[in-house]
């Protein structure tokens, strides 16, 4: 099946041969007597982990978790509730002082919730967005520095919505004290941010920690932090609780060291490592932003991720979202669910509807994987060649976004072994006020400059010509088809042209990672 069965309203209809998710969504919406935006979610993909390279018990736990599974985050949404504002350490890449509703980065949040408000919000969102399968507490401080609020929230939610997966993120300092409580509430996913395993490195990242009623600084602080993080990880592993490690890549400070971090966490049982680029701009007011510390380039980030990817899954789809984000990764619907709005909502938790949606998603996922399988033959002639392509998509594994509307591009690496998701590039300045059309296109070209082609549903004549001139082939002939399958068909065609001498294969340069805060569309 080449035609996508799950498309947004302006596409040319859906296939009737398989389970139709849009139909399920519509039925649910009718049942509730309200409209739905179902399926318009924008997402992209990440950890290449799938059923074939994970133990079955882990796959069962992560398959519906958008932050853990490349497959899942096309289809499933997460929400964070900001019940945990206090923090017990200071990081040089974090500044808690800023909170603009339009600013999206970790550590900032628009409003604090009580556990009771958070529980109501989760129910409201889960009833409106059946893709919502995961509830995370990620701050905006450290959830385990706010244990009362964090665990009370988990308790309330597990009573009313037992099918929702619970997860928590922490800097790890307090983790060993709370592992048993985490197990008690069946929180089966924990993310620990580990940026170093050597205090010599750590003292340049953490100005202080709050430990045993004292503020400690320098080497001593970093030493305690790393010991607590690794102890906490070991305790989670002993109890069979899945641990993902987040690391912020800070060029010149911990970039090379993160290979050591990767080994240390892998050997202690972490199942997924998410290396993220430093977000650093002077306007954020962070220490790193103010002292001019740069973030990595796209190729520096990818090279490190590739180096760490041995027998451990690397996560590459992280959007570094806010501690109160709602929706599929890459979108933020939190403005629809402010405290005022949720307190006024009639909430009817529709377990049956949620189950129907989730079953339909499973069918869609299988169709996507099957489509890709057919194109894996005939790639041998690629030899050692690896090329990157960019894709404009709103999600569901389909090329379904107009070039000029794309706020990010997904990046796939094409090689002898197939098409592999390796990251995403933000280009959200494009088509927004204050920037001329020329500047906007330049932003996009900088962001995908290491790609040989860009796949889009539609593209205008001018950008098409400019992209071609920049050496990036605009490809619009696979509109509304599956990404991986289309990319492989194109790649084989590319290989044929190289073989026949019609084109000469050349390597591309590096690309830039956008540093500014993500501007939310919701308002």
């Amino acid at each position: 099946m080449t035609e996508a069965m799950f498309e947004d309203s302006h596409s040319n209809g859906s296939d009737d041969s398989a389970v139709d998710i849009a139909d399920v969504m519509q039925k649910m919406a009718e049942h509730k007597g309200c409209g739905t935006e179902g399926g318009s979610g924008k997402a992209s993909c990440g950890s290449s982990g799938g059923p074939e390279d994970m133990p079955p018990e882990i796959w069962e736990k992560v398959k519906n978790h958008p932050c853990y599974s490349e497959e899942a985050h096309h289809h499933y949404a997460r929400m964070h509730v900001a019940v945990a504002p206090a923090c017990n350490i200071q990081c040089n890449y974090c500044n808690r002082k800023y909170d603009c509703a339009n600013e999206s980065r970790p550590g900032v949040v628009s409003e604090r919730l009580t556990p009771e408000q958070a529980s109501k919000k989760v129910l409201a969102v889960a009833s409106t967005i059946p893709q919502m399968t995961v509830l995370g507490i990620a701050g905006p401080g450290d959830p385990l520095a706010n244990p009362g609020k964090t665990f009370e929230t988990f308790r309330l939610i597990s009573e009313v919505a037992p099918d929702i997966k619970l997860c928590v993120s922490t800097n790890g300092l307090a983790l060993p004290d709370w592992v048993d409580e985490i197990a008690k509430y069946k929180v089966d996913h924990v993310t620990i941010t580990i940026n170093m395993v050597d205090p010599e490195v750590g003292q340049h990242i953490y100005p202080w920690i709050f430990w045993e009623n004292k503020r400690l600084t320098g080497y001593e602080a970093a030493k305690i932090l790393t010991e607590r993080q690794l102890l906490g990880l070991e305790m989670l592993t002993e109890r069979g609780i899945l641990a993902k490690i987040n690391s912020v890549m800070i060029p010149g400070i911990n970039d090379k060291h993160l290979v050591e971090v990767n080994k240390a966490v892998k050997s202690r049982g972490a199942f997924l490592h998410n290396i993220m680029p430093l977000i650093s701009a002077p306007e954020h007011g962070t220490v790193f932003g103010l002292n001019g510390q740069r973030g990595p380039t796209a190729q520096e980030l990818k090279a490190l991720q590739d180096e760490c990817e041995g027998d451990m899954n690397m996560m590459r789809h992280c959007r570094q979202c806010r501690a109160d984000a709602v929706g599929l990764l890459g979108e933020d619907r939190s403005a629809e669910f402010t405290t005022d709005k949720i307190m006024a909502m009639e909430v009817n938790y529709d377990s049956a509807g949620r189950k129907a949606y989730q079953e339909a998603v499973e069918a869609e996922r299988l169709a996507k994987v099957a489509a890709k399988q057919d194109e894996l033959d005939g790639l041998e002639k690629a030899g050692d060649m690896k090329i990157l392509v960019a894709v404009a998509t709103k999600g569901h594994g389909i090329i379904n976004e107009h070039f000029g509307h794309a706020k990010e591009f997904q990046i796939y690496e094409l090689s002898q072994t197939g098409a592999k998701f390796v990251g995403h590039r933000r280009v959200d300045l494009y088509c927004q006020g204050g920037y001329g059309e020329e500047d906007a296109l330049e932003t996009v070209i900088k962001a995908i400059n290491d790609c040989h082609a860009v796949f889009v549903a539609k593209i205008g004549g001018c950008p098409k010509a400019d992209l071609t001139e920049a050496g990036i082939e605009p490809v619009d002939q696979y509109a509304h088809e599956f990404i991986e399958k289309s990319a492989l068909v194109w790649f084989k065609d590319y290989l044929d042209k190289v073989e026949s001498g019609e084109i000469v294969h050349a390597d591309r340069g590096d690309a830039a990672i956008r540093q500014g805060a993500l501007i939310s569309e919701a308002g």
Partner: protein, 72 residues
Amino acid sequence: MAYKIVGSQCTNCTACEALCPNMAISEAKGTFVIDPAKCTECIGHFDSPQCVAICPVDDTCVIDNAYPRYEA
């Protein structure tokens, strides 16, 4: 006799409230405030004032010169 919170710098992170040994800190008018009658500068409780030690913004929990220093 007391510390005070510079309201314009406070991020409302609540961290100080839970740590105060005297329960002198509470939320008021969109920020957090220290009741000078209850604040002991943590003398007798801890080596350093807890609100100062945990505050994520430097120079936000500061000595209030309107009051004489606390004496245990």
